[in-house]
C-alpha cells in the first residue's frame, strides 16, 4: 500500500503547490457566478416554495465546482505526465493498476471537496442554508467527485494532445455540468429539454445534492443515487479495465 499512498500524496502535493490556480481560481469564479446570478434573479425567481433563489443556487454551484475540479485534477495531471513523458516514473515501478486508479481518483475527490467546501463556506456570507439530510449531501458529493475523477482519467488516457483534452472539457464536461439544473429546476423546462435532462447523470448529482440541503428535489433521491451509483461503478470499471490493459500507456 506504500505505493498507493505515495502516489496519492504526490497527487495532493501537485495541486497544492499550484493552489492559486487549482483552488483559489475556481473558488473565485464560482463565487462570481453566485454574486451575479443571485443579484439579478433573487427578487424574481423562486424555484422551491420558501427557498430563495440564492439559497437554491448555492448547492448547484458547489456541486458544479466539485465536478469540474475533480475532472480537472485527474485529467490535467495525467495528460501532463503523458505529454512530458514523466508518466514513465509511474509505469516503471510495481504499481498495480487499481493503485493507480485509487490514488488519482482519491486526489480528485480531495480537490473537488476542498473547492466545494471553500465555495460553500464563503457562500454562507450570502445566505444561510439548511442542511436537511447531511448524509445525502456527502454521498452525492463523493459520488460526483469519483465519477468525474474517473472520467478525467479516461479522457487523459484517450487524448493524444492538450487540444483533444480541452475539447472534452469544453464540449462535454462544461455543457453537462451547466445544463444540469445548476441554475434552474428542470421542471421549469419545456417537456423536450426536461426529458433530455433526465439522460444527463450530472442532473441527478445536483438534484440529489440539493435534496441534502432542502429535503426537496425534482426526482426521488433514491432513484438519483441508484443512477449515480450505477454510472460511478460503470465508469470506475471502465477506467480500471483501460488501466489494466495499458491503453495508450504501454505500447
Amino acid at each position: 500500500m506504500t505505493g498507493l499512498w505515495t502516489l496519492f500524496y504526490k497527487e495532493l502535493l501537485r495541486f497544492w503547490k499550484v493552489s492559486l490556480q487549482t483552488i483559489l481560481s475556481p473558488l473565485v469564479s464560482t463565487l462570481l457566478y453566485l454574486l451575479i446570478f443571485s443579484h439579478v434573479l433573487e427578487a424574481h425567481v423562486q424555484v422551491y416554495p420558501g427557498v430563495g433563489y440564492t439559497a437554491f443556487l448555492i448547492p448547484g454551484l458547489v456541486m458544479m465546482a466539485m465536478l469540474q475540479n475533480a475532472f480537472a485534477n485527474s485529467s490535467s495531471s495525467l495528460i501532463q505526465s503523458k505529454m512530458n513523458g514523466n508518466i514513465v516514473f509511474l509505469l516503471l515501478p510495481p504499481l498495480a493498476y487499481w493503485e493507480f486508479f485509487t490514488a488519482y481518483v482519491a486526489a480528485a475527490v480531495v480537490r473537488g471537496m476542498v473547492v466545494g467546501l471553500g465555495v460553500g463556506l464563503v457562500s454562507m456570507w450570502f445566505t444561510a442554508l439548511p442542511l436537511a439530510h447531511p448524509l445525502w449531501t456527502v454521498l452525492f458529493a463523493l459520488a460526483g467527485c469519483v465519477m468525474l475523477g474517473a472520467v478525467g482519467i479516461i479522457t487523459a488516457l484517450w487524448a493524444g494532445s492538450y487540444d483533444q483534452m480541452a475539447a472534452v472539457q469544453n464540449f462535454l464536461i462544461m455543457p453537462l455540468t451547466f445544463l444540469s439544473g445548476v441554475f434552474y429546476s428542470i421542471n421549469s423546462l419545456p417537456p423536450f429539454w426536461q426529458a433530455l435532462s433526465r439522460y444527463n447523470p450530472v442532473f441527478y448529482l445536483i438534484d440529489g445534492f440539493r435534496y441534502g440541503f432542502f429535503g426537496v428535489s425534482d426526482v426521488s433521491p433514491l432513484l438519483g443515487l441508484s443512477i449515480v451509483g450505477t454510472c460511478c461503478l460503470a465508469l470506475s470499471l471502465t477506467t480500471l479495465a483501460l488501466l489494466k490493459s495499458g491503453y495508450k500507456l504501454r505500447n
Binding site: G3, G85, F89, P94
Partner: protein, 300 residues
C-alpha cells in the same frame, strides 16, 4: 544460477513495422553487458519490453526469473531503468522525486540511501532544487538516481551518457562500475563504443530487430582482429608481393591490413628481399567501433 535477463524469441510489431524479429538473449547475473546497434535497431524497444513499457507481440522475457508480463510486479522490483528521454516532473524538487520513486517501489524510509545516491552522483547541493531548473546533465543524473532508488539487482541504462559532459561521464561510469563490482548486473546501450569496449565484458549487436553478433568483447575484437600497419618506405615504393595487402596510400604512408601481428614478420622479410628500407612504422589494433562497423556492414 537464474539469469539476470532472459529474452526468448521476442517479436514486436508496431502495425506493419516488425521492430523485433525473434530476439534471443541471456544476460547472466553480475555481467556488464552492452547492447549496441544503429538507430532504429530495436534496442530501446527491447528495453521497453523488459521494463513493461511495451507489450511483447510474441515470445517472453524474464528478469531474475520473473516473467515481465505474468509476474510484472516482482520483475519491476528487481529492475532499474534509466530511460533515454530526458524526462522530469516540473512540480517537484530532486529529493521529492526520489522520495516518491522510493514510495512507488514500496520503500518508506529511504533517506539514507537517497543521500548516498545524491552524494555519489554529485547532486547533494541540488537536492532541494526543482528538477526543471537543472541543466541537461544534472537532469540525467537525477534519472540515474531515480532508477537506483530501490537498489535494483539488475540495472538497464539506455544511452545514459548522451549529451553529458566528460567529467560526469567519468564519474557516472566509476559509480556504475562500483555497483557492478558489488554484484549488480548492468545492461548498457550507448553510441560511444569506446565506453562499451572499456566497460562491458559481453556485447550483443542488434540490427533491424535481430541479434547479429553476441559474444564477449574480447572474442569479438579478436575474431575480427586485423592488424593495420602504416609504413613509410625508402625508396618510396611498395614491392609487388605486398600489393594485395595495400588498403590505402596517403602522403607517403602505405596502409597494409594484416590478418594478425605475426604476419608482420613476413612483410618485413619481403621488404628486406626487395631492398626497401623501413623509414617509419605504426601498428594499430582494431577497436570495437571498427568491429561494429564491419559487422553492421557485413550483414547489410
Amino acid at each position: 544460477m537464474i539469469p539476470a535477463i532472459e529474452i526468448r524469441q521476442v517479436h514486436k510489431r508496431f502495425g506493419s513495422l516488425h521492430a523485433l524479429r525473434g530476439v534471443d538473449l541471456t544476460v547472466e547475473q553480475g555481467e556488464f553487458f552492452a547492447l549496441l546497434g544503429p538507430n532504429g535497431a530495436g534496442k530501446t524497444t527491447l528495453i521497453n519490453i523488459l521494463a513493461g513499457l511495451a507489450r511483447v507481440t510474441q515470445g517472453h522475457c524474464a528478469v531474475l526469473g520473473y516473467d515481465v508480463v505474468t509476474d510484472y510486479r516482482n520483475a519491476r522490483r528487481v529492475l532499474g531503468v534509466v530511460p533515454q528521454e530526458l524526462v522530469y516532473d516540473a512540480f517537484f524538487t530532486v529529493r521529492e522525486m526520489l522520495r516518491f520513486q522510493s514510495g512507488y517501489f514500496g520503500l518508506k524510509n529511504n533517506d539514507a540511501w537517497i543521500d548516498e545516491l545524491l552524494h555519489n552522483l554529485g547532486l547533494t547541493d541540488k537536492a532541494d532544487i526543482y528538477t526543471r531548473l537543472l541543466s541537461g546533465g544534472m537532469k540525467r543524473r537525477v534519472l540515474v538516481a531515480q532508477a537506483l532508488v530501490h537498489k535494483p539487482p539488475v540495472i538497464v541504462l539506455d544511452e545514459p551518457t548522451a549529451g553529458v559532459d566528460v567529467e560526469l561521464r567519468q564519474n557516472l561510469w566509476e559509480f556504475i562500475r562500483r555497483l557492478n563490482r558489488d554484484g549488480h548486473t548492468i545492461v548498457l546501450t550507448t553510441h560511444y563504443l569506446e565506453e562499451a569496449e572499456a566497460l562491458c565484458s559481453r556485447v550483443a549487436m542488434l540490427k533491424q530487430g535481430q541479434v547479429i553478433a553476441l559474444d564477449t568483447t574480447r572474442n569479438l575484437l579478436s575474431a575480427h582482429a586485423t592488424t593495420q600497419v602504416r609504413v613509410r618506405l625508402n625508396p618510396d615504393r611498395l614491392p609487388d608481393a605486398l600489393q594485395p595487402l595495400l588498403a590505402g596510400e596517403e602522403a607517403g604512408w602505405f596502409s597494409l591490413v594484416l590478418s594478425d601481428c605475426a604476419a608482420l614478420e613476413g612483410v618485413l622479410a619481403t621488404l628486406r628481399e626487395a631492398n626497401v628500407a623501413v623509414a617509419d612504422l605504426e601498428v594499430s589494433k582494431p577497436d570495437l567501433e571498427e568491429v561494429f562497423l564491419r559487422i553492421m556492414g557485413k550483414s547489410a
